[in-house]
Each structure stands twice: as structure tokens, then as C-alpha cells.
Symmetry: C2
């Protein structure tokens, strides 16, 4: 029997999905699970998307151009223009989800053994794609106390070596919800130019910036045209994660020529998804107004609920639909598995993503979880009751057991 590859062994299981078998088992046993572990919103996809697929006019489900359906790409330029991102046709290719944009971007720009700096906690699959490409992630820790703001630039400087070729950010951030300020991005800009690095920016949550705070894209930064690779996806924008449509964007022509070759190897992005995505560009603004209002309400609800729980701390995020909470527990992996395997609150439980998977530094985030506030407030309320009650009886609880013993004295 031949051996599987080293990468296969190193490949991290998705921290968001690794608990799925436990969830499946619990569901089969009749348990109701509130899924706060995954950024799969319950928001309806825009009607124009669903209609476009219903009215799919062709008799043959054809390949598209490797870079994506031409009319879709053309129309997509108008979408970006609204965000003051001015692109030409050659500056973008359609990818199979944001995931493929990451993979192709990383493959195009970095060699095996190269290093990429990512402020942590970060979207867990950056680890996966780094393993894919054989590159090394250098984490620079951000702190829950500061609401996961950009770490000081000195911390980046400290880890840079001659093998460091790139920085990756997610703005607004999955998993922290942090929205980078113009000052933070300008600081990154200076650093990137100083060391001539690639700057990858995953901006799939740009529709979800709250409290009238400004969304600044890396595409807005002066003089970075040759360094910036923008990674995008329609999954969150239109609540259409299953369409698997994203985009890779750069003004660097070498990057785009390379990306097209990688794209040709996989032939084309999904046709139905592209048809839906093209139609989605006509989504009325009211849709986003409604959605944003809903997410703000959910965020406000959940952050308040979390901070009310004994021993829990959760900073208030300004974007995306995630937050990271610190819990009074020994180990978030154990806790999240326990929620699915051994816990029930009137036949219900909650599924969370252990934050450890979003850190690259071993041991970091051990008592933190990522919560995706992708359910209706009614469901969030029930989920928070589940969590609150669970924390009271979880055997690995740290703080409160002492507290309760004190109370009993």
C-alpha cells in the first residue's frame, strides 16, 4: 500500500467543519442544533438570482470561458465601480468561490518555502491553502482586548525574513469582524512597499460594514497596483455560498496571465452560479439595506448576550457577521465537541467554531470561539440560552466553578 503525501498529512482539517460528524450524529439522534459555526447565513438569496437560474435559457449546460462568462465579467466591472474600484476586463477572472481565488492567488505569487504574514486570528482556510502551496504562515497576533485591531507594524517587521513574500488580510475580517481603518491600511501600504511584498486582501464582506464606518479597499491605496491581489466572492454578499462564485483581481498583468493559466487547468467556473451571479448585480439596494439592518440587530443582540454571561468577553465588531468570544473554559475544541456529544438543553444545542483553528500559533485562542451570527434573532436567543446554560455545567469550566464554590461557602 503506497503512502499518502506529506501535504495530505499536514493539511489541517477545517476547524469550522471538523465537528460535522458529531453534529450529524446528534441530528440523527433528534437533536436541534443552532449552527453558529459556519458563515452560512439564513438570509434569503436575492430573488433576481433565483429567477435567473429558473429561467436558464440553454439546452446544454456548457463550459464557460476559463476567466468566466464574458457578459458577467463586463457587468461585474460596474459593481466594483460603485466601490470606487476601477477595473478593466483583464484585471479580473471569475473563480470557483473565494476559495479558488485564494488558491490561484497564492500559487501564482508564492514559491514553496516562501513565507506569508497574516495577522491572527485569521480565516482558517488560509492555513489550508498555504499547505496546498507549500508556503509558511507567519502569524502576527492581534488581541481580543483591542478588538483585534491591526497589530503594531513593528510586530510585522520583527517576523520578516528574506523569505517573506506576502501579507494577507481579511477586511472586514472573518473571524474577528474587525474593519480595518484607513490608518491601519496606510501603515500596511508603507510596509508592503518597503519590503516589496504581495498584499493579498480578502474583502468578501465589504457589504457588511456597520456604524457608518468607512470601507477602505487595498485597491484604494496609492502606488500598490503591482502588489495588490484582491480576493473576492459573492457567497456572503448575496447569501449564496453554494453558488461557488468568486473573483481574483489584480492590476498586475503577470499575476493575471498566470492566474488565467491556473484557471484554464480547471476549465471553467460553474455555469449556473455565474448565471445567478450576473443577475445578482441587479439586486436592489433595499435588499442590502434590509440585510445590513438585520445583521446590525443580530450583532447588537449577540454581543450583549455574550458579555452578560458570567466570565465571557466579546468585543463588538464593526463588520462581517462574526465575533470572537473568550469563554471561561479549558479548551474550546473539547467544549465545542462536548456541546454536540454530551450536552442538551431541552433537546437543543449550539454548534460553534473553536477559535484555535483560526490561530497559527500553537495554543493561542484555546479559550475562544468564533460565532457566526447568521441566524434570526429568535434562534440566536435560543442559541445563547443553550450556550449560557452549557457554560454553567461544562466540566472543563475554569472560572465559575471557583466562583460557585465561593458562593456556597
Amino acid at each position: 500500500m503506497p503512502n499518502i503525501s506529506t501535504k495530505a498529512t499536514q493539511m489541517p482539517p477545517s476547524p469550522i467543519r471538523k465537528l460535522v460528524p458529531y453534529a450529524e450524529k446528534a441530528k440523527k439522534a433528534g437533536m436541534k442544533i443552532y449552527h453558529l459555526n459556519i458563515g452560512q447565513p439564513d438570509i434569503e438569496s436575492p430573488q433576481v438570482m433565483l429567477d435567473a437560474v429558473k429561467n436558464f435559457p440553454l439546452r446544454v449546460i456548457e463550459y464557460s470561458h476559463s476567466a468566466g462568462i464574458e457578459s458577467y465579467r463586463k457587468k461585474l466591472l460596474t459593481y466594483y465601480k460603485k466601490y470606487n474600484i476601477n477595473l478593466e476586463m483583464g484585471d479580473l477572472i471569475i473563480t470557483t468561490g473565494g476559495s479558488e481565488a485564494i488558491l490561484i492567488g497564492v500559487m501564482s505569487c508564492l514559491n514553496p518555502g516562501d513565507e506569508i504574514i497574516i495577522p491572527e486570528p485569521f480565516y482558517a482556510n488560509y492555513n489550508g491553502f498555504s499547505t496546498y502551496a507549500g508556503i509558511k504562515v507567519l502569524p502576527v497576533p492581534s488581541s481580543i482586548e483591542s478588538g483585534f485591531a491591526l497589530p503594531p507594524i513593528e510586530e510585522f517587521e520583527k517576523v520578516i525574513t528574506p523569505k517573506t513574500k506576502a501579507i494577507m488580510v481579511c477586511n472586514p475580517s472573518n473571524p474577528t469582524g474587525h474593519l480595518y481603518t484607513r490608518e491601519e491600511l496606510e501603515a500596511l501600504r508603507t510596509l508592503v512597499l518597503k519590503h516589496d511584498l504581495w498584499l493579498f486582501s480578502d474583502e468578501v464582506y465589504r457589504e457588511f460594514c456597520y456604524d457608518d464606518k468607512e470601507y477602505v479597499s487595498v485597491m484604494h491605496l496609492e502606488g500598490l497596483d503591482q502588489n495588490v491581489v484582491l480576493l473576492d466572492s459573492i457567497s456572503k454578499r448575496y447569501s449564496a455560498c453554494g453558488a461557488r462564485i468568486g473573483a481574483l483581481i489584480s492590476k498586475n498583468k503577470e499575476v493575471m496571465a498566470s492566474a488565467l493559466k491556473f484557471a484554464q487547468a480547471r476549465l471553467s467556473p460553474p455555469t449556473f452560479g455565474q448565471v445567478a451571479a450576473e443577475a445578482a448585480i441587479d439586486t436592489p439596494n433595499e435588499y442590502f439595506d434590509e440585510v445590513k439592518k438585520e445583521y446590525v440587530a443580530r450583532r447588537d443582540f449577540i454581543v450583549e448576550a455574550l458579555n452578560k454571561m458570567d466570565g465571557v468577553f466579546c468585543p463588538k465588531p464593526s463588520g462581517a457577521f462574526y465575533c470572537i468570544a473568550r469563554l471561561p473554559i479549558d479548551n474550546a475544541d473539547t467544549f465545542c465537541q462536548w456541546l454536540l456529544e454530551s450536552y442538551s438543553h431541552s433537546g437543543e444545542t449550539v454548534m460553534l467554531a473553536p477559535a484555535t483553528g483560526f490561530y497559527s500559533t500553537p495554543g493561542a485562542g484555546i479559550n475562544e470561539v468564533r460565532i457566526a451570527y447568521v441566524l434570526k434573532i429568535d434562534d440566536l436567543r435560543k442559541a445563547m440560552v443553550c450556550l449560557d446554560e452549557a457554560l454553567k455545567i461544562y466540566p472543563g469550566r475554569t472560572e465559575t466553578i471557583v466562583h460557585e464554590m465561593d458562593m456556597a461557602k
Copy 2:
């Protein structure tokens, strides 16, 4: 400006798609092009697939399970059972097209620097995915004279080194149309066991075996359970290339555990495509009877038409919908580009895939083209007229110019 990666530089452009810009230019100038360059059939997708998408019942275009929609996977087992391929749920994951099955398969089993033997000519994108994974392709030439039968096992033995970890075949073959006999596959089986290699088999054309010849899967071979990785796709089966749905299949549990981790990194295969694919399993047998009849007629037509042309040789394939023809030309790349840039037969031309891209040995296949007989016979007829006339006047023609001069004497 930072440098792009070495892999980006090495990544071969798709020989099937690299001429696309010339075709786009010709089309914009009003030229009618017969596309025989790409395996995009004009056959209609089964109605059940189109209906399933039209009736998509959900309001949210959700992620699926990383391994694919459970009901689809379950139903897919019944599809394979019909081919005497007996699988359990854990033996397969749904991929984004056959392309992703290749990528995940290769990533799971081979390390950078490892070698994979592939009889050439072979599906060009195996080169692309080998570059992706940093592995080296060792070609073993098959010959047009033998109809691209499996090369003698001694030729495989000659190239095997300690770094050789796998063999890859495509059966029935894209680009040659060769259908491997049981004897050929048994010979491969012995070789694989002797050297404890992986055996990757791309069997996406199993529906297209002609002349009552037997389809033998590597899954039918005794004692190879731990070595075999089957790569599959619905693209050709249902004329649904744009659905981007494939499968990776193995009885080797380590491979499947690894594949799932790679699959989790990209979250899920396309939802609409899976919905269509699940419905497609109910495609009536008559659909395939019709389609097969059509392809046999096309094959018979095109092989005869080609062999009638002065200086052209094309062996008759037994499967898939491709053939490779040797033409009396200096260089197939130049010729295929010339067809798009400088040639017109009453405003029409034909697009072919230069066979050089299907060979890994430099210079091999220089006067060969791959032809996909994916158009109606009426269109094929017009395309063959284009080709015949083109060959007469192509400046780089080799044989006939001499012949015509002889005639003129």
C-alpha cells in the same frame, strides 16, 4: 514589483484554450468557427437535469457538505453499482468537476518531486495539475500506428525510478479515443502491484464505448483496492460540462480522509450543479442509446473524412469522442493558429487542438491535432471541408506541395 512564482512561470497554458484569443478575434470579425478543439458537446443535457435546476426549491443558495450533498452521494452509489463498481458512502467525495478530482487526488498521494508515469499523448491538464503539485510527469509514448494502445510494459519499467509513485491513465482516453482492453489493464495491475504504485484512472467517458467493446474499470481489478484512485465527472456523461461536478473515489481510507481535508478547504462543490447531477441519475437509458448512436455516426463520418484527405492519417477510436489525426503539416500549433488568423473558407474556419499540448516529450505530436467530434454531422461535414481546403493551401504543408509540383510536371 514582486516576482510571480516559479510554478506560475512553469504552468503550461491549456493547449485546448490557448488559441481562444485568436478565435475571439476571428468571431468578432464575423468568422464562423467550428469548434472541434474542446470536448464541449452540442448534445442536449438531459431534461431531468434542467428541470431540477428550474425547480430549485430553496430560498437560500447554501453551501453543501464538503463531500457533497448527502442524498446525491447516496444516489450516486446506485449509478456506480450499474457498472459493477460497488462503493460505500466513505469511498467517494463530490468534486468541482473532474479537474478538482485530479488536483485533490494528486495532492493527496504525491509529494513535490515525485514522479508519475502517463502514457502519452494524454489529457493536457494532467500537466497543469502536476505543475500545481510540483510533481514530474514521465511520459511513455504510445503510437498513432497502433491506435494509441497501451505501450509495452517494458517501456514503463524503463522509466521507473525510486521517485516514481504513480501511473495515470484515461479510459476511454481523451485525447486518443483508445479504450483499454482487459489485458492491457491486467498488465498495468501487475506493474502497479510490483512497484506498489498509485493507479489514477480518469474514466469520465465510460458511457462512450463503441462497437460492443467492454468497458473495464480499474475498480474491477483484483487486489488493487489500496492503490486505485478513480477520477470522475458528469461533464461528458450528461453533456453538462458547465455544472462542474465530478467525483474522487477510492477504497483507500487514508486517501479519502486526506481528500476530505482538501475538500473542506474549498468548503463545498457547487450546489446547483449537484442538484442537477442528482436528478441526472434518473436519466432514461434511451438518452444514452441515442447519444451513443449519434457519436458512433459522428466518429465513423469524421474518421472516414479525415483518412480520405491527402496525407492525413487517423486511427479509428473505440471510445470517448476524440480522435488524433496526423496531418501533412510542419507544425500543428502554427497551423491551428493560422486557421483562426489567416484562413477562411467562405467565411468559415475550424478550430482544432494542436496535439503537442497532449505530449510531454518535446517535439512529439508536432504534426498531429486532436479533434473532438462534438458537433452535428452537418457541421462536421462543413468543418472537414474547411480543413481539407485549408490543408491544400497552408503555407507550412509538407507532403502535398511536393505532390502538387509532381502533378504539375
